[in-house]
Symmetry: C2
């Protein structure tokens, strides 16, 4: 395998033109969140759905979930539909179904650039960047290091640059060179100025959530009323499996619910560790932990948009290490998709792997997870680009490689590929060419060749000899160069100068006030 070296760009005037218009690193697909036209893959029978539903409801009815937040407990108590013992909350299935029926089947989140709005529900499919790894790895460093603000900003640039990234998740790498009390202020400033896509808030205490909502409101130029009229951002919370929701997560969840922002709840139910070793059991537990949060949100603000996430996977039973993108992971995702449709709730899945570097294993694990997200009918695929080592590492090469796969998924959903009108059946073209010659030159081909096929930006389709002559560059190295090229030419999306100043002033004020407490 060759060292990292300069990637040879596709030659000629096209690259030159692209550079002049300021997007020369690669030729990518336009912004166009896919419409998932495939019928989902559904491993569960009707009886299977009923069995998982019954298991989920029995957990909520008979076993209950620990709600480690007094305010949330009070909301459940006031509803009149719950049985509360200490922090344990139970509720009957009729009550659960009645409450979650208030949640919309579909909702739209609109960021500061309304052209980048995303819809969760229906056949909509949206991809987001890797979120929350503490560490960073790239090919030039060749080692794992602690995340910094610069690395984080670089991933935000990638997230903005790639049109196949439709929303921005949590911190793409945890910037540990910023003090935890003010980290959210700096990263959100970076996120809101370097990107114009849907942004996310961590539910890590009152101040962080409120600060982020305020910054998103400022960036969008909204009044409070406008901000709350429809979701402008979202949060994702995780339960503490098994069967617990912690204080700060629920606190943030309720704050966003009150202000009508997007809500995603994703239990991390590793089968055999924090959930039953059987996938149906792990899915049922995940659903119970998720649905109780949806009930809470609906009790606070009926009709607020809630999506349920799946993060059900298995462990390596030899070591206890989490595994990702496995056959069990794929099936759990598909099963959760069936249940999300049963509950009429939008769904989140993920692009994940256990691999430590962007090698073959990383691709088959990530590809399995991404495609199972597609097959599940998920509307939001988290960590869709850049994730390594079970979420402990963010890597720019992996980000670029994953975006190549995401573009392929987008193209796969283009109905033109499977169109069957007379022009596509092309009997006259077949007649014209007959049994001699080829189709390159005929009018039917000439009319379509620039758009007929997906054009990858990272795959090298040259033959071995041409590839070898160009330096024998493997995929990950090519991705490294693409990453460098993108950074070199990145331009932030436009922002009104007054808005920027207001954001800056907000950040400065909140820093002066000490930011957020770090003792949560």
């Amino acid at each position: 395998m060759a060292e990292v070296k300069t990637r040879r760009k596709r030659g000629g005037g096209r690259a030159g033109n692209a550079e002049r218009r300021g997007s020369g690193a690669i030729e990518q697909m336009p912004w166009n969140p896919p419409i998932n036209t495939d019928r989902p893959t559904e491993p569960l029978t009707e009886e299977g759905i009923a069995a998982i539903h019954d298991g989920t409801m029995r957990i909520l009815e008979e076993i209950g979930i620990e709600i480690l937040n007094p305010e949330a407990l009070e909301v459940f108590r006031a509803s009149g539909g719950c049985t509360i013992n200490g922090e344990n909350v139970r509720m009957g299935r009729d009550f659960v179904m009645e409450q979650i029926a208030l949640a919309p089947e579909e909702f739209t989140i609109t960021p500061r650039n309304p052209a980048r709005a995303i819809t969760l529900g229906g056949k909509h499919l949206n991809f987001g960047n890797v979120s929350s790894p503490p560490s960073y790895w790239d090919m030039e460093l060749g080692r794992k290091v602690t995340g910094t603000r610069e690395m984080c900003a670089n991933f935000l640039k990638l997230s903005q640059y790639f049109n196949c990234i439709h929303f921005v998740g949590g911190y793409p790498v945890e910037p540990q060179d910023i003090h935890a009390s003010i980290r959210h202020l700096d990263v959100l400033y970076d996120k809101l100025t370097l990107t114009d896509k849907v942004a996310h808030a961590y539910c890590l205490g009152r101040e962080r959530v409120e600060d982020v909502m305020e910054m998103v409101r400022i960036a969008g130029g909204h009044s409070d009323e406008e901000f709350e009229a429809s979701p402008k951002m979202y949060s994702n919370i995780n339960s503490t499996s098994p069967l617990k929701h912690d204080y700060p997560m629920l606190d943030g969840w309720m704050r966003l619910a009150r202000r009508n922002q997007g809500l995603v709840v994703t239990p991390f139910t590793l089968a055999g560790a924090m959930a039953p070793v059987t996938m149906a059991g792990a899915v049922a537990q995940s659903l119970a932990e998720g649905l109780i949060a949806v009930v809470l949100a609906q009790l606070i603000r009926p009709g607020v948009g809630c999506a349920i996430g799946t993060f059900t996977s298995n462990v390596d039973m030899k070591s206890g290490a989490p595994a990702f993108g496995t056959p069990e992971y794929m099936r759990a995702t598909q099963m959760t998709g069936q249940m999300a449709r049963f509950y009429k709730l939008p769904m989140r899945a993920s692009g994940v792997c256990a691999a430590n570097v962007p090698d073959g294993q990383a691709v088959w694990e990530t590809s399995n997870s991404l495609w199972s997200g597609v097959q599940s009918g998920a509307h939001m695929i988290y960590h869709a680009a850049g994730w390594l080592e079970g979420g402990l590492i963010a890597s720019p090469e992996k980000f670029v490689m994953d975006c190549e796969i995401l573009q392929q998924i987008q193209r796969y959903m283009d109905p033109m590929i499977t169109a069957t009108g007379p022009d596509e059946i092309a009997t006259e073209a077949v007649r014209e060419v007959g049994d001699q010659g080829h189709f390159f030159g005929i009018q039917h081909t000439q009319d379509r060749y620039t758009t007929a096929f997906y054009q990858p930006f990272l795959s090298d389709w040259r033959n071995f000899e041409a590839w070898e002559a160009a330096g024998s560059v493997w995929t990950a190295q090519r991705a490294h160069q693409v990453y460098k090229d993108i950074l070199a030419e990145f331009e932030a999306p436009p922002m009104d100068e007054a808005v920027r100043e207001e954001l800056e002033a907000f950040v400065a004020r909140r820093k002066a006030e000490g930011g957020a407490p770090t003792d949560f």
Copy 2:
């Protein structure tokens, strides 16, 4: 990326035990061709199916196919259902449908070891090794070289070793150090002694086909009558797109049909080159070229088993180079699956890529193609392990990596993952653990942990630090070591000594007779 180095085996008594029982290289899944329980992915509507069918039939009715084989022309002529002009053969759709209705929806091929029989049709899914690349690449060589008998034999050993390889295709690499006149004799001897799985004959002239049938008959210990009672082997032919079938392919096809052996016809219709630039057009042309061969087989021996293959992909419209595992490829495969079910014929798909080395691109292209084969309901997936550079290179590392993916597909089809009985819903396990502790130690987990999850042989699920301490070995290097380990311990399947002697004598006699002519 580290150099090739000794792979650290999983330690402990298990590996030791495995070595003692003679299969220590890896712990693999047992022989168990999967039953594909997924509903196929079907991008075509009923109208779309009708439109492609109509296009296919119009090609056969109005345009016709060139049949460059006088004997085949005579069969078509004698049928009374065809219009023949020179070598151009046309036929009406009623005749086509009547003839292909004679072909079985499902047939079984039984090799010399009856336990390795494979069924094409229904929900059966079978994987075969890479076939026919002229060149070889491995990580130790680090360069592309011409195939030899030794390399070919090594791939045959891999094909036998891996239980997820269910049939043996053509030569896994073309052994160009053997003269073409006797190559089939040596390779078939190797194939029939190193493997006990279903074997294949190339349709490259009378002598080769007849020799291979005879060798398979000898290896199975069959009389002529037994050999012809049901398929014991198969061939795959390609049309010469557009709209032609060449002499030797049809000659072999008819010879196998007469003796009731398995038949697979796979047009290589690259959209925009040898077929219309539109995928529906390319699929329709592929079907027309395929179905006429099925008609021929049925005219010769009504009821003989025929499968139609798809090899419809797109070209890189910038260079004309073939592309594989693309979104267009995936959709063409799924569309062909719908048409194969419409025609009630078993189907072949492939595992393919354009990548030159076993890197990330190789995995996403191959994974896309393999999974689209699964999604299409294909019964036979050719080239499922070992293919690089659009089929010009066979690689042992790629073979091993692909087998990791194939095992995952096998496991994915295991109904235990999605089972929803009371034990799988596991409400009592959830109750037992409650909101404290974990599931590792409970009886429900202990009873299942050895079989609950897929255990990969090639993925490294250790964390970064442990992976780094073990040498930072990327997937392809790990695969190289697995390949070496497998070769070191390979044991050929048993064969009766008298049978082996008869095979040897046959090969010696046919060599003395000069083998096959090389002027075809």
